[in-house]
Every structure is written in C-alpha cells, then in structure tokens.
Amino acid sequence: MAEIVPLADAVSELVRDGDTVAMEGFTHLIPFAAGHEIIRQRRRDLTLVRMTPDVIYDQLIGAGCARKLVFSWGGNPGVGSLHRFRDAVQNSWPVPLEIEEHSHAGMANRYVAGAAGLPFAVLRGYTGTDLAEQTETIKPITCPFTGEVLTAVPALRPDVAVVHAQRADRDGNVQMWGITGVQKEAVLASSRSLVTVEEVVDTLEPLPGAVVLPSWVVTKVSVAPNGAHPSYAQGYSVRDNEYYQAWDAISRDRDSFQRWLDESVFATAASA
C-alpha cells in the first residue's frame, strides 16, 4: 500500500545517492517538483534515466546530481539545445557525465521489458545507424522462428521511478490521463516508486482512457499541486511554453544558471 507523505520525506526515503532514477512524463506530467526536491537534498552520483531529458534533467545535471544519463532525446522541445547537458558532455561541468544513448523506440521497449519481468526486449530498430556501434546495450538477435535478424535491448530496472499524476485517493491508488507516455511501464519496472499528485480525493471517478496504478505498486504518494510546472497536468494546468523559451537564456551560462538554482530551488521549500 502506498503511503501518502510530504514530498521532502518521500524523496529523502526513496532516492539515495548512487541510485538509478527514472523520472518520466512525456512532455505532459513531468515531475518537476520532485526533481527540484532531489536537487535541494543534494543527491549525488545518480544514474538518471529518461526518454526526453529535457529541462528537468538539464536542471539536475547542472546542479551536479548526475553521474550518468540514459536517454533518447536531450533537447528543449520546440526551443533548442539543453545547455547544461551540453556543458556536462562537452566540458564535464560541473561533473563528468557518462551517457548511454538510445532511440525512443529502444527506450520505450526497455521499460516494457522491465515492467514485464523480461531480461530484454526485441524491436525493429537501430539497424544501419551509428548508435548501434556506440551503445553497448544495443545488440542484434536472431528470431528463433523465422531466422530474421532483429535488435535486442536490455530491460531497464531503475531503483526508483518518479512520476506525476493528476490525482490519488486516500488509499494511494493513482489516476492519470491525457498523454501518459511511458509512466506505467517506468513504475512497474522500478523497485520503488514516488508519485506526486495534484490532489488527493475521496474517490477516483473512472475516466475513459485513464491509467490507474493500484496502491500496491506505488511506494509513496506526495501531494504537489502544480508539481509538473512548467510541464502540465491535463485538466489542471496548461504547458508553460514561455518558461521553456526563457530557460534557453537562463541555462546558457553557468552564472545565470547558478543564480536560478539559488533563487528558485535552494531558497524555496518543497510545497506540501
């Protein structure tokens, strides 16, 4: 049964130095409040896993929380590059960042294998690309039935998954809807999970197309209203596209990033 606890407590109990952490949310429902709490608690040497390490991981990487990044697309969607990510890869600032790079299809399938309790997943992908040469977790595999050569990628099994959802009930059952990305798979693939929610309600009204994570696959739930900002929670908020555009200038140089970190993360307390 998931326990409903304040965000700061959930992060300090579930996310440990050196952990492999998957914070998911495909443009929608990105767990920014939890990310900022991880920065605030000064976690170090994390292996960060995420299909689209956009602004949230740019912030964690710039703050020096990460040792390694496992990902498939590291940009600021619709805006451009991630400057902190770039600075870490190109100049090892603030610390060196090891990368393990995939495509979206590969990452999605790695989560599926993790959720399904399988050691690897099979897909048609990567053939002829240079990624297959650079990434050790991409290997050819022959179909035992047809002889066709396909691609295998190993399961992702993070120590902890962190996702944001619209709401939970008092027992810790979680409900999310809209673009639900790979969050269900990330939670099911991980040993522990933290779900931040917009609100806790008495009863989860069934909604068409919604994903429900039963309380017994969730470790902790924390209430974090607007906890996906500048991403959004369908039905609660809209994507703050201006923030994403403003991030380009904030993150471009180290000093303005440091100022942002001091003012917007360290000087503030976790909500709830």
Binding site: G75, P77, R124, T129, G181, V182, Q234
Partner: protein, 260 residues
C-alpha cells in the same frame, strides 16, 4: 542578370514551409516531428490536405490542433486526437509495422544519400565539438514509414558529403543498403529546403536537385551544398506561395505554443 524584379512578399523560410505542406497528400497518415515539419503539416491540414492524419510520438493519433503546438506533447494534441496511446504503443503498434505513410523529419546534418545526423558534430562521439539532442523517434521513423520527407534549411554546414554520425538511415552508402539493413520503409523521397527540392536519383540514390524555388539559381544551391550536387535534366520551379497559403501560415505562426 539585368532583369529587374520586385522583391517577393514572402521569405525563403515561408517558401520552404509551403512547399513542404504541398508535399503531403490529402488523406495520408503522417508522423510529425516538432518544428518545421509540424508547421508544414498543420498548414497542409488547413490548405491542400484537410484529411491529413497527424500522428505525434507523444501517442496522439489524429490530432487536430487549432493552434501550432510548441512541443510534440502540448495538451491541445491530446484534447483533439482521435486516440491517445502510450509511448510504447505508438512505436510498437503504429510505427514499427509500417502503418504510417509519411515520416516528416528535420536534420542538423544531411548527406548526399539522405542520411540524417542529429547526434554529434565534430570531434568524436565521446568528445564531440557540438552535442546535439540525439535520436528521439527519428531512426525508426526513417526506417519504417512508407516514405520520408526531410525539411531543412540548406547550407554547407548542414548539407555535407558524409554526416559525422548516422542517427537515422537514408540510403546508407548507396544502392542496396536499405535492403541489406532490412529497413522496410522507402526512405527519404523528398528533401525540401529554403532553396529548392531534392529527390534521390532512382539508380544512384544520390540526392539530386529537381526543383528550384522562385528566384533561386542552381549556383546558389551548389554554394550551399557540401558535395558536387547533381541537377535533374528537367529541373523545375516551385509555384510561389499563394496569398491564401501565406495568410494561413502567418496566422498559424502567431499561434505557436498557444499564444493568441
């Protein structure tokens, strides 16, 4: 050239976007990348291809946004979609089996065989001069869609003889490579730039200049291409943007990211 012509009332970027929108067949199912491809696809839905089915990698199938999304996951895409599916499902059930007619991609570098690089430029992979965002959905879009359209601004920096890193395969090192790799889609059939249109030669698979946008010369294209580009015998000229296309495109650009 002594001919005096009035400056056109449209930009090279607008010509590129309009040309890209016209390349989309009405009723086609189109896997849309963000940026120029998304703008062109949304323009097409308002002009020449009202029945175009927009599929975004966020899992939104049949999205009908009434403004231009900034990301592939803006709420408007889910709100207006025929169906919203998970990310594993969009790649495994919809893209991988070859259900998508057109993949619409951008590029940081593109080479003579239509291979795309969006990963690293210069240096080597471990120590690149420039680290780019990476693959995203592109490798499998390039592999599996029936055809791929690339929209990209043309310059010597972008149009290179060989890409520094093959993120997404066009025709590899030439004829036969797609088959050898087992790629089931048709590969890049059209490359649309701010200068003109390139298509692969049916025999050599090399990108060949087949159309110039109005006012552009072959010399300009050569200047902006990092290899000796072949020119089609029956080189055509793109129809300039119509006033209606321009009005709709400019309205659309104003709404980007939901700004009103």
């Amino acid at each position: 050239m002594t001919e005096v012509t009035a400056a056109p009332d449209w930009s090279a970027d607008e010509m590129m976007t309009v040309a890209a929108s016209r390349a989309l067949r009405d009723g086609a199912v189109c896997f849309v990348g963000i940026g120029l491809p998304s703008t062109a696809a949304n323009l097409a839905r308002r002009t020449t291809a009202p029945g175009l089915v927009l599929v975004y990698e966020s899992g939104t199938i049949g999205a009908k946004p009434d403004y231009l999304p900034l990301s592939i996951g803006d709420g408007i895409l889910a709100d207006t979609a025929d169906s919203v599916v998970s990310v594993p499902e969009i790649f495994n059930y919809w893209l991988q089996p070859g259900r998508i007619d057109v993949g619409f991609l951008g590029a940081a570098q593109l080479d003579r065989y239509g291979n795309i690089n969006t990963t690293v430029i210069g240096g080597d992979y471990a120590n690149p001069k420039v680290r780019l965002p990476g693959a995203g959905g592109a490798p499998e879009i390039a592999a599996s869609c029936r055809e791929v359209i690339v929209v990209v601004r043309q310059s010597k920096r972008t149009f290179v003889d060989r890409v520094d890193f093959v993120t997404s395969v066009g025709f590899g090192a030439g004829p036969g490579d797609r088959e050898r790799y087992g790629l089931r889609g048709g590969g890049p059939r059209t490359v649309i730039t701010d200068l003109g249109v390139m298509e692969p030669d049916p025999v050599s698979c090399e990108l060949t200049l087949t159309r110039l946008h109005p006012g552009v010369t072959v010399e300009q294209v050569r200047e902006a291409t990092g290899w000796e580009i072949a020119v089609a015998d029956d080189l055509g000229t793109t129809e300039p943007p119509t006033p209606a296309e321009l009005t709709i495109l400019r309205e659309l650009e104003k709404t980007k990211g939901g700004k009103r």
